[in-house]
Each structure stands twice: as C-alpha cells, then as structure tokens.
Subunit: 429 residues, 2 copies
C-alpha cells in the first residue's frame, strides 16, 4: 500500500519555529515510518525574510505573507508559532475556514479563545492541537484528554513557569535576592528581556486555565483566576521556610470543590518531601490528583526550542494520522460545561507570615488578641532574630479561611508596634 | 447524531478486574460523554462463580467459560485480566480471530509474546492496548507511542517495581533489614505472598522489555536483559550510600548505545538530587532522556486496583473510538527492528564496593595493586569502622568497564586478608 502524505504550512520561524523545522529535517523520516504517513514541509511564512533565508529553506517554499500558507489548497496542516492573540487568532480562523487542521503552541490564545476556536474546528470536522501550549515537551494535554479519561480529577498543582522556578531555586541555593537571580536567569536564557508576565504569574495563569479546562471539563473565565507573582518573595522567607521543612514554589493550583472550581496562582510553601519540592531550576512539573488514579506527576523541560518542537510534531503526527486514516479525534472539549467558581476569599489554607515588630512587652498579647478575635489559631511561632529594638517574628497558622486571615492580618498591622509590609505565603495542604 | 456504542467482554475479575468493573460503573457515563461512545459491559467471565456473584453483576452477563466472551459475536472489545502466559495468550489469539479489539494488563505476556500478538492484531486490522501492563495508572505506553513520536530516546530509567521500592525506602528510613521490610510490605499489601519475581527483579525486567521495545523501536530478546534483584542489599550499604550523597534504588535501565541496546535491572546508587531519588515507598517513576525533549519523568502509583483500572479504561476508550469512528490506530509497533544488544560485561559504570578485611599492614597496598593491575582507578575510599581486628572498607571506583571491574574484584577477593561476600552496587552515571 502506498504511504499517505500530508503537507504542512508553518507560520513563524522564531525560536520554536526554527526548532520545529530543524527537528522535522533531522527526524522527519523516522516519524513518517512510525506513523505511516509522509510529512512534507510545503510552505513557511515569516514577516522577516532574512530570517527565513538564514534558516536555509528552499527559496520556493518561503514567503512573507501568511495568506500564502493559509490559502494554499495543497496544505493540510497549519502550524501557528507566532504567539499572542492577534493576528494569530484570525490566522487560525482562516486556516479552519480553508479546511486545515491546526497545531499551535500559543498559550495566551488557547487560554483566552480556546473554547471558541475549538468549537469552530469541531463544526468543520477539523481539530486544533495545542500540546505545546503548556509544559513545553512534557506530555500533558494528551494524557489529560486520553490517559486520564476514565478518572475524575479533583486537583492539579503545577510548577508551570520555568523562569520563576529557576529564580526561586537560585534564591534558595545561594541566598540571592530576586533581582540578582533574575539577572542571572536572563544571562542564561531562562528569562526573557521583559519577564513581567512570568514574574507576576500571568504566564502560569494562562497555562492553568488550559489545563483546568481539560481536567475539569469546564469553560474557564480568566477573571476567576486569582493571580499573585513572586515579586514579594524574599530569601529570608525562603530560609525560614526551609527551617520549618518547606520549599517556596510558584504554584498554579486548580481544584474541584463541592462549591465549584477554585483556580489560583501564588507563591506557596511546599512540604520538602512533596514530589514538587524537588523540581528545581528551569524544570516544570504537573501533579494531578484523581479519585481512582491517586497521584500522578509529569516532569520535564517546560520551555526551549527543541523540547517544545517535540510537542508540536507529536501534534502534527496525530493530525496527519487523522487526515490519512479519516478518523475524527477524541475531542473531550465537546463536553465543556459552565462551572461555578470559588473566590479566593472562601478558600482555606495554612498561612506563613513574617513581620518586624518593636521588641517590647505586650506585643505578643496584642497579636494573640488580633488573631483570636478572627478565630485564627496558630500552629507555630518563631522569634529568634532581633535588630536592635526590632524583633523578627514568623508565624504559621492552622487552616483558616482567606477572608478571616486577611481580616486578622489587617488588625495585626494596625497594632502600633507592628511594622508594615509583612511577608505572607500560603502553604500547600 | 446517535451516539455509537461498543460492547465489552471482561475476562477475570480478580483485583484489577474488580476495579475495572467498579470504575466502569461509577464513571462509565462520564467516559461515554467525553468520547462520544457508549460503553456497555456485556459479558464477564471468571472461573470462580462465587466471586462473579459476589461482585453484583446481573445474572445474565456472568459466565465461568471464557469462550462465552471470546465467541460472542456481539462483543467488540475483550479485556484480558487473567495474567500469566497461558491461557491468556490463547484467549487473546482467539479474541483476535473473532475480530475483537483487545485490552490487557498482562506484562509477562506482552514482554514475552507482545511482538507476535501485535503482528497478529495488525494482520487483522485490529489492535492490542496494554497501557496497564507497565506502571499501573501512570500514562506511559501512550506517551511513548504518541507524545514522544518525534524524538530519539537514548535512555530510559525506571523505578517500576513498587514492592522493592517500598522495601528499599523502609530499609533506609528505619535501618530495617530486607526481611523486616518485606514482612512489613506484605502486611500492608505492597508485596504479594510470593514476592520472588519482585525481589529478584524479574517483574521489573518484563516492564523494561515492554518500554524498551517502544522507546527504541526494537524487538527485545528476554535473554539479553541482565537482571539482579535486591536480595543482597543491606542497610549498611544504604547508610554508606547516603553518607556519600546517594540513595539505593532498584533501577530498570534501557540504553541505546552506538554498539546496540543495553538493558539491565540492578540495585543502583542514585545521586540524592536526581528526580528518581525522591520517588519513595510504593511509587513508581520512569525517567526518559531524548535527544530533543531532554529529560521527562512520569510518576505515580505503579500498581493497585483503581490506578490500574484507569489505564485499562483509557485503553478501552481508545479502542472504542477506533471502532466507532473507523480509524486505524497509531501502531508504532509496525516499525520494530532487530537490534544488537550490548552485554553487561561491556558496559561502564562507577562501582560501590564494601567488604571486611583483616586490619593489618600491607592490606591497602595489595588492594591498590589488584585494582591497578586492571586499570580500575578509585574515586573514594572510606575506612572508619573496625570490629576488633577486622576493618570495614568502602570504595567507589571511577568509570570502569564491568569485565575489568569483575576481574579486579576477583583479584581483591583472592587476597588472604579480604573477607568473602562483598557488597557491590553500580552507580547511576
């Protein structure tokens, strides 16, 4: 039997696009053998002509116009690696309108418009694959859609931003402050020039939305995700955390509670013996808790040209098989439902709190009263460093609802002896 | 459009079969919604009638004859959960002969006869799914077949036996000896009454064969796997390993070397900061190194009724979609090739060696000569405990070929002052 063949159009040859082209060149034949379909890179578009030329593509397949890819009737699969919402969104819609399968690594777009785009693809009996949008080369979307199809997932916890995990790891290892660790990360290529989306947790929030949509079969409203970044984390907090048996990580947490979904990104104290605590440097990991499967974790490089290219080409391989063997794909997204969301104020946690106070009689009594009034009970109190007449106090609460804790904290900060700007970090339960 | 429907026949309702039936009952409707196919448990066979009755199946679907399932023309998918080579092998052949898709959790069978059975399935345009044969509920087979399809895997390292990992964890935590830890594992249900296949590494070797076949696209000859279990590991060795920064794990290692494949199962010193070192108790993990993806790891419960049932039903869901949407499946197994195998004697490692010696002058000189003669250089020598006139000596070599090390070891043991029965454990490089 003749082997089938699909033609691929590539939009964008930046870091990931270059990696995809290189991997297709080096491994294309082996992939074709495994899936029994030949993959042909038929057209490559980028606004930057000299970049296209420098990558050594044949002259007759390069173009600076996306439409040359989107409207080419020969092309079966469009790989979108431009990023951002527009013009990527319009291009994907155009690709679908022209009857093409789509593969994308675009997390912003899939988080914000994934449901709409997937619905459009479904209407046209096509599909959009987006394994590369979360966790780089770590297989995640496919395991969530297929391997865990029989289970009910009740929680997922991810370290899904390599930049912040690298920074926190370096701060812990060498007592660096955030600025030092960030500039080191930039030098080594683990942080972009503008890293605000990473540092402030927005990048992690997009990835959480995509994973939670699949894990909980729900539409996710971006406004319902509570997002805090790592800019207020200090190495003093990391040192205290270690002392009491914890590591500080930026976690993306999605939970299915009886009252609805709770989605949040914030720095978190993770018990040192939890598998997520040993995820170091630029690595990512996603820890999933299911009713039947128990705990599973996926670990690997969450970014980088070649790891991400493996995810893109795995999607291309799946699309190619769908096209050649005329099967429709397992579109779990068809069963997305509207969910209730639980605001962060209603969630319970243990809290770590560090602040400075005048070192004088009566301060602890005022503190105890402020917490007691809001029924916040304390699990741990540490006071060991003093700076002249100023004492440093670290507290860890028992489980307490966010709203009650914040109210107690407000009262604590209104005590004249307590200095402003405390460190507050939630604990992983 | 009417939803499609497939009928399932279940062979064997032991621990896993009972889990599959329970999970299908509790989650069948949700699975059907996600995959757009109704799953109907149409027939259940077990030799033990009272076990069938005790599980509450309707009277008209239970039978004590496997043939009632295998030959029922209504049944589309047969789930084989009997285990062992025969009669499972004959039953799977009969299922295929009768035009049915097969799902199995049978690692012994897939390791020994997988290639033959998959070829038969392919000839008949059917398929055999075996996600549950390795790693319980951890998604592994599907990621290897699909997610990593674009990459060249050069090494996989697995902790794939929960019993031995539990025993080694307990030995390390509480200085137990093997017998104590094993009897504790049996009490807690983490070890079977006859645990010899676990302790001696055969269970891990079967799983290594299945994973290596997929990862390296190769037929695996069982005789080519070097297998050592944990029966000679002592808590003294575990304590020394910890002192020099290592943890002792039973690893299943598959490597693609320039000379061919190297497959082995043996106790190994794993650096304490390696992700596999923090895989504790009954948990399993598989660490994969690919040229493009870098390192990825999959972690979770490698056994147990409910975790394994999620893997079985994920396979059933995939088979059901293939049947209803008439697609052929991604049979990476079609490209299996015959590989060269590299014998353990040709592999290089660092070695840990512990032995007792008479505490007298000249012993170290004889030792040094024995190693020097075989060009085995030492990275570390520890001598700190003495028992009367007997000294305990721990050595760690630099990288050395197995054959040279074994020859040097023989010379060392021929020195009259050296006591017999040393501990020898390889290090993970």
């Amino acid at each position: 039997m003749d082997r089938g063949m699909v033609k691929i159009g590539l939009l964008g040859v930046g870091t990931i696009g270059g990696g995809v082209a290189a991997l297709l060149k080096s491994s294309g034949r082996e992939i074709s053998e495994k899936i029994d379909v030949d993959l042909v890179l038929a057209r490559v578009a980028d606004r930057n002509l000299s970049r296209l030329q420098s990558l050594g593509f044949p002259e007759d397949i390069i173009t600076t116009k996306a439409a040359d890819v989107l409207e080419d009737p020969e092309i079966d699969i469009v790989i979108e690696l431009i990023g951002g919402i527009e013009p990527s969104r319009s291009m994907i819609i155009s690709a679908l309108d022209n009857g093409k399968y789509v593969v994308t690594a675009n997390k912003d777009l899939m988080a914000a418009h994934g449901e709409e785009l997937l619905a459009l693809a479904r209407d046209k009996n096509l599909n959009i694959y987006y394994e590369a949008s979360v966790g780089g080369g770590i297989p995640l979307i496919r395991p969530l859609k297929q391997s865990l199809v029989a289970d009910r997932i009740h929680r997922l916890i991810g370290i899904v931003n390599g930049t912040t995990n690298y920074i926190l790891t370096r701060m812990a290892a060498d007592n660096l402050n955030l600025e030092q660790a960030l500039s080191e990360a930039k030098e080594l290529g683990f942080a972009e020039v503008d890293s605000s989306s990473d540092i402030e947790g927005r990048d992690a929030a997009y990835k959480l939305m995509i994973m939670s949509g699949l894990a909980f079969g729900s539409s996710i409203d971006p406004g319902k995700v509570h997002v805090e970044g790592i800019s207020s984390v200090t190495y003093e907090d990391i040192a205290y955390a270690r002392e009491i048996g914890y590591t500080v990580k930026l976690l993306a947490i999605g939970e299915k509670l009886p009252e609805g979904l709770a989605l949040r990104v914030h720095p978190t104290l993770v018990p040192a013996d939890h598998p997520l605590a040993s995820v170091l440097n630029e690595f990512n990991a996603i820890y999933i808790e299911g009713d039947a499967v128990g705990e599973v974790m996926f670990y690997g490089r969450g970014a980088g040209a070649m790891p991400t290219a493996t995810a893109v080409l795995a999607d291309v391989a799946e699309a190619a098989r769908c096209i050649c063997f005329r099967c429709s794909d397992g579109e779990i997204e068809r069963s997305f439902k509207k969910a209730n969301f639980v605001p962060i104020n209603d969630l319970s946690n243990r809290f770590y709190l560090r602040f400075l106070a005048d070192d004088r009689a009566g301060v602890f009594a005022s503190l105890a009263n402020a917490f007691g009034d809001e029924k916040v009970s304390l699990d741990m109190v540490i006071q060991k460093r003093s700076f002249g007449s100023t004492a440093e106090i670290v507290l860890v609460t028992h489980d307490v609802c966010e709203a009650a804790f914040q109210k107690a904290l407000e009262k604590v900060l209104s005590i004249p002896a307590i200095k402003p700007n405390p460190s507050v970090i939630r604990l992983l339960g």
